[in-house]
Symmetry: C2
Subunit: 490 residues, 2 copies
């Protein structure tokens, strides 16, 4: 089965799509740019969603649900926002179909034209802030800490499963605050939650940082981002958190009576991660044999395979092992299908990224042993059946940790502090990874760099210290105050 995968070296992009399809994570649908998320892929997404949801609630956020549709006029109320989204909107114009003139086909009923077109939400700031106007009257209504899990639509021309799709699933937090400082603290707190989740669950290290003005969310005063590095040396923006200032409050006239009985505009944030995280997860750890999953997000953590096929003695021992594993909260599957051979099963669970495989045959039973294989390193050994549950439990922790260490080493190795344009180009075009370079702070230079090298400003990182170097822009030589992480990106 693994032979059906294109290798990373041959074609990274094909390799990625092969894994998404062969591991049965998602597939293209007949609707251009929209994907079908298959049960195995959705089970991984559910694990991500449930953990994030737990963390949002633990920090005081509540879930709510706002309409799928946004009146066209709402979108135009915040000038930067409409510029950012108008070009990629699905527009609902009618509310009825009818039988066509041929008596058979179905056509749009022109008498059912909407007075005002509706946009399928590309993001919900406008409809939510229009609602907050009614919810917020005084400082006592603040902070308002709301999250929504929803589908959104952005009409993308070039799509790729999970990474960029016309419809995607996400969560969008929308909070309202009495002060600027509190809103900024909220936006930073949520970025920390994303970064910690990426590290602790996805085994994916990220840089936290601030976007350049040119890369900001449409309508934000500041955008914070987590940027991860894929195995091909490209960066991937995995989550963003926006300090929206009073922009949406002003556009939708949302004010509150402060403690001194004066009306003030409300301060806002919004923040989101999406099914794009699935793409980041896949590309962080997988190899030429298929998907590799960190144990904490694996729908099946352990698979047990009878050698060469199930029998009473094997079934009994497997039942015992499974029970011991489940008691520890470990998800286990016994594949006792008699119609496929062990070798085929091995390849299939490798392809699907199951972290630990146990194989048990008659000889093992005699010897009191079992064969254990880990997906990440492909190591295989025979271990004692005694305390096998403890052994597996420790191994899952070790695998989770190993994946993180490997990804961290890669991030470190491929983050290059550069001080000349030649070094910059060498990183971006040959070495791959991040080039950490001084930039003169102008959008003009940023755009030039992009046009010359395809590298974009990923962020001004918060926690990346390096030797200062000469504070001049890598391209223009103009004075610079801040280094920026540049990379080609997804």
């Amino acid at each position: 089965m693994s032979k059906e995968i294109t290798s990373q070296e041959e074609n990274y992009s094909e390799w990625y799509l092969d894994i998404v399809k062969k591991a049965q994570l998602a597939d293209n649908s007949k609707v251009k740019g929209c994907m079908v998320i298959k049960p195995y892929g959705f089970a991984i997404w559910e694990k991500m969603r449930d953990e994030l949801d737990r963390q949002f609630k633990a920090t005081g956020h509540q879930n709510a649900y706002f309409p799928l549709f946004i009146p066209k006029s709402f979108l135009s109320k915040e000038a930067a926002h409409v510029d950012g989204f108008a070009k990629e909107c699905a527009v609902v114009t009618h509310h009825r179909l009818k039988v066509g003139a041929d008596g058979k086909s179905v056509v749009v009923d022109e008498t059912a034209k909407l007075e005002e077109e509706l946009i399928v939400r590309p993001t919900s700031e406008t409809i939510i802030w229009d609602t907050y106007k009614d919810w917020i009257k005084s400082y006592r209504d603040l902070p308002l800490l709301i999250n929504q899990w929803a589908n959104v639509v952005r009409w993308e021309l070039r799509t790729r499963l999970f990474l960029r799709t016309t419809e995607f699933l996400w969560q969008e937090g929308h909070t309202a605050h009495a002060t600027e400082a509190e809103a900024i603290a909220e936006a930073r707190q949520m970025l920390d939650i994303y970064a910690d989740f990426a590290r602790d669950f996805m085994a994916m290290p990220v840089y936290k940082g601030t976007k350049t003005p040119n890369e900001r969310f449409a309508g934000a005063d500041d955008t914070y981002t987590i940027e991860a590095l894929m195995q091909d040396g490209k960066a991937l923006q995995a989550g963003t958190s926006h300090f929206l200032g009073q922009n949406f409050a002003k556009a939708f006239e949302v004010t509150f009576l402060n403690e001194n009985n004066k009306n003030e505009y409300v301060w806002a944030t919004s923040w989101g991660v999406s099914t794009r995280l699935m793409g980041a997860l896949i590309m962080s750890h997988s190899d030429n044999e298929g998907l590799v999953l960190p144990p904490k997000l694996a729908p099946i953590q352990v698979v047990i395979i009878p050698i060469p096929k199930p029998d009473e003695a094997i079934d009994a021992k497997v039942a015992e092992i499974s029970q011991a594993l489940r008691k520890k909260g470990i998800t286990v599957k016994y594949d006792n299908d008699t119609k496929t051979r062990p070798g085929f099963k091995f390849a299939e669970y490798e392809m699907r990224g199951v972290p630990v495989r146990l194989a048990l045959g008659a000889r093992d039973l005699q010897n009191g042993t079992i064969e254990i294989a880990r997906r990440d390193t492909k190591e295989k050994k025979s271990v004692s059946l005694e305390n096998i549950a403890d052994y597996v439990e420790n191994l899952l922790v070790e695998i989770q940790d190993n994946l993180y260490q490997k990804a961290s080493q890669r991030l470190k190795d491929r983050t290059h502090t550069v001080n000349t344009w030649e070094e910059f180009v060498d990183v971006v075009e040959n070495k791959g990874g991040f080039a950490y370079a001084y930039w003169d702070g102008t959008t003009e230079t940023e755009v030039k760099i992009k046009n010359l090298t395809q590298a974009t400003a990923r962020c001004m990182p918060w926690d990346l210290e390096v030797a200062e170097g000469t504070k001049t822009c890598i391209l223009t030589g103009a004075p610079a105050t801040q280094r920026v992480l540049f990379a080609k990106a997804y």
Copy 2:
């Protein structure tokens, strides 16, 4: 606060909307027919969703996600299906907006017209069966047991919060089977799950039954339903499960190779419940003081209020009680806000349907007692602080049970076996509730009955035995074989 609610007797419909709004469950949005589900309402929906999801998974179903959009041509592939849904579709015709001629407004970009219009899913049979064509090849791929939690859109002319909205949230199960018998068993199993959930969690008794052909889902061979009775004597369809025969398999050419190596069409079911359950829940138990919630679905099960305000001794005792309650898995809120008075708080939590209220003051502390009030009966008494957690735990069980008993008694009292047209009309127009009557089995009679009385055939119940009576149709006197439950309905 409760004074702001219209009483049931004055205007049942206004009473319902008052509760939805004052208990902060949902609100109308600026988008016609679309609602905003507020955090408190959404927390109740999450509890319902999580429990149903657990039961779906326990019976072997997996979640997946299919596109929001359906190509117009898909809808027409199943003849009955398109008849059922074409008249209430949101139609996407364009994928871009642009700046208008005035340089300011935003208008639809006519150059971005879609080749084929997309329908926002009113239900997903068509897009899913088009996908199943690729997933199902042999009997080994069956049964395919998939569920999806999603938003759907049906362009309703008259909407009412939760009960009938243009966009609503739901789950839709879509399963594929090798045999007719297996598909029917699946459809019945899922209806049982709905009915048990209604009874055990919503404290809402329902009739399980089969719909008349006229009331079937568009594209089904048979529709099974659970029908509940609201306090105003109207029926409410709370969930449906459909045996789809081979209709969608034929429309989308989905066949499988059976064990004898022959191609056969696949058998199908679909089944769903939606945010409409919120409406059913509210109308099953609430009263003129506000929402009444069964403890199992209450986001806050116990509220503790300091009398008249918090102090150190009260705080300490409340912390102790809260900890003991939380250990038992009971959700508890301590409202120590100093800016509102106890009386105001009492009214607020009554409005929001919190099942148990504890009030603790200095005198209680001296006496070793606490005041406990239950929302359902409004009984209030002073009980010992010793073992208060056990007391509350038992009381929550008792409240859950009491709500179910009350609703069951009502259902029983208001289900009338009728044998003459006069009795029928008396039930439907005066007494309210269900009229259980013989019907001649024709759609013509069913429609006549509806036109004469507004009562519709709710279902042919599975478990409702009564004395046989003369087997003639209540309206036409023609021979009849089956009694049907008729009622006015939501």
